[in-house]
């Protein structure tokens, strides 16, 4: 009697959890279907040209997303160029060099950067970072590096450079904390062996730790890239929102996420809305590929270590 009831309850419980788990799969599938269906008018009208033309004219109903794709990729790559060396330094310091009593507080403060809402970053970007760039940093760069086309043009304050800097601050905690964890998976006898052979501390880090953690490092960088690509609010507030492709980093630009944020509620007409949704779809696919690549790389590293412990 009891046995039957128990078995019934157990089966029900397992079904409930399975249903919850399956509905997450369904959610992702539904998201993809919905985006594709609603982007269909634009996909049918513009085809592949959507990705390679740079007219964005809501009045004439002619849409090409190239300036947004360009803006998203350039701002994210710029963010990586700034954030990767710094994050690497932080991770090396925190995992290898810092005295033990500093490690806890310092990593807490750096992870605090990840807790700041992106709209607050944007607010700070508008009123603190952009004026600083306009009055100090851009004149400096233009005076000493002005021969490079990327540092030419008027000083607006807002623009590609500002967006790249603010993105780099936002992804530093992501990259540095994963990198640090990857470093901690390096067996300590690797370091000891290098030190015993007479290497300096830095040589031990470079030869034993960095070389060993290469794959995981790449994963951390790609994961940071994924975060930068999808970031919306802070970028929208400081990038200047102009759909142009310009060689100068000082010039205003536009990203895929910002154009959706700015124009979605104002989109008049189905084709306009559908073009914006297609921009979202492109963004979705780019971040999907990036994230899968990052997971695969990190899994290869941590799987090697965790697998040994779990068994």
């Amino acid at each position: 009697m009891m046995g039957i009831k128990t078995r019934f309850v157990d089966a029900g419980f397992q079904k409930a959890t399975t249903a919850a788990a399956l509905s997450v799969v369904a959610l992702v599938a539904l998201l993809l279907c919905h985006m594709i269906i609603h982007a269909m008018p634009a996909i049918q009208k513009f085809g592949w040209h959507f990705l390679f033309t740079s007219t964005w004219d809501p009045v004439k109903q002619n849409f090409g997303a190239l300036p947004f794709i360009y803006g998203t990729i350039v701002s994210s790559v710029l963010a990586l160029l700034i954030a990767v060396p710094i994050s690497l330094g932080i991770a090396i310091y925190l995992a290898e060099l810092a005295p033990l009593f500093i490690r806890g507080p310092l990593s807490f403060f750096i992870e605090l950067l990840a807790a700041i809402p992106s709209v607050v970053y944007g607010l700070w970007g508008i009123f603190v970072l952009a004026p600083f760039l306009r009055s100090d940093m851009q004149p400096f760069l233009s005076r000493y590096f002005g021969f490079l086309p990327i540092f030419q043009g008027a000083f607006y304050g807002v623009g590609m450079l500002t967006a790249g800097i603010i993105l780099s601050i936002m992804i530093i905690p992501t990259i540095s904390s994963i990198t640090r964890e990857v470093f901690l998976t390096v067996p300590s006898n690797q370091r000891e062996a290098a030190l015993a052979l007479g290497a300096t501390r830095w040589e031990a880090i470079r030869l034993a730790v960095l070389a060993y953690a290469r794959t995981g490092l790449l994963g951390a960088v790609i994961l940071g890239l994924g975060r930068a690509l999808g970031e919306t609010m802070a970028v929208t507030m400081v990038i200047g929102n102009r759909a142009e492709i310009s060689a100068s980093l000082f010039a205003p630009a536009y990203t895929m996420a910002s154009v959706i944020a700015n124009e979605f509620t104002e989109a008049t007409g189905d084709l306009y809305l559908s073009a914006l949704i297609e921009v979202g779809l492109v963004l979705f696919f780019i971040t999907l590929v990036i994230n899968i690549a990052a997971r695969a790389l990190i899994w290869r590293v941590s799987g090697r270590v965790k697998g040994e412990i779990r068994k």
Partner: protein
């Protein structure tokens, strides 16, 4: 002798560079916090918490509707995302060592990586288009979708940390599997799961992008869940990009309140709720 000096110099330089990177990162952190404190806290007064926004030009007014709206949106998203996340996490930890389990895990990873603005579009097509109105419900849905991966992942990880001997002991006493999981395993892992939920709440409290075209914002108290609702991050955004000094001050005050809410939640999760049992972690 020369090569040893060169190596020594490189060693010291690189170590100093690593140290400087860590210090350098603190500069924006300190700058952001000091600006939010100096501009936000000074613009803050009681009417900020009790009054509705005033039209441009009229001084005073507050963001009571936005603070309330954010709390309502958090409540709405927790209402469906927490049970679903925990149940899904239980599945992944207890029944998920099969192909379906890895499919679910993959979906959770995908969901976690989707930019929040894309989730906003999804909520828009799912709720706003059929209902023909921006609404609190659609905002709560979008924020819930963002919560789910975190809740599921933490639940799974916390359940996996519970020693197998506990499960075996319960089952050996003749307790059903369902009761073992709910009464023993989940209960043991509860502090960790609550921490995960709080961290997820701290994240969605500051989310703006998915609310732009779901919750939409509202200058008044909302009348029902089918209508647009104000949210603190949205209000900060609108005020920040406006040309009015008075609104800028309100935006800083809003940022101060938002950061306080988020920090408070993270602090609670970090210090107040400590796991009752500490299991040896993998690292």
């Amino acid at each position: 002798m020369n090569i040893y000096r060169k190596r020594k110099i490189i060693d010291v330089t690189m170590r100093a560079a690593a140290f400087l990177c860590a210090i350098f990162t603190l500069v924006p952190l300190i700058s952001i916090f000091s600006y939010v404190l100096s501009r936000g806290a000074t613009s803050l007064n009681l009417s900020f918490f009790t009054h509705l926004p005033r039209p441009v030009g009229e001084p005073g007014g507050g963001m009571s509707n936005a603070i309330g709206g954010t709390l309502i949106l958090i409540g709405l998203s927790c209402l469906w995302a927490v049970p679903m996340g925990i149940l899904g996490g239980v599945y992944m930890a207890e029944f998920g060592n099969n192909r379906l389990g890895s499919m679910v895990r993959f979906s959770v990873d995908v969901l976690n990586g989707i930019p929040s603005i894309v989730i906003g579009i999804f909520a828009y097509t799912l709720f706003v288009l059929p209902m023909k109105s921006f609404s609190a419900i659609s905002g709560g849905f979008a924020l819930g979708v963002i919560m789910i991966p975190t809740v599921m992942r933490t639940t799974e990880e916390m359940l996996r940390m519970v020693p197998h001997t506990l499960r075996e002991a319960a089952l050996a006493l003749g307790i059903s599997q369902a009761r073992t999981i709910v009464g023993i395993v989940l209960k043991t892992a509860l502090p960790g799961i609550v921490t995960g939920i709080l961290l997820a709440i701290a994240r969605i409290a500051g989310e703006t992008a998915p609310l732009l075209f779901t919750a939409f914002g509202n200058r008044f108290w909302h009348q029902s869940l089918n209508q647009p609702i104000a949210a603190l991050p949205l209000q900060i955004f609108v005020y920040a990009i406006s040309p009015f000094d008075d609104w800028h001050r309100q935006a800083w005050a809003g940022a101060f309140v938002l950061i306080s809410i988020v920090s408070l939640i993270s602090l609670i999760s970090r210090f107040v709720i400590r796991p009752r049992y500490r299991f040896s972690q993998s690292r």
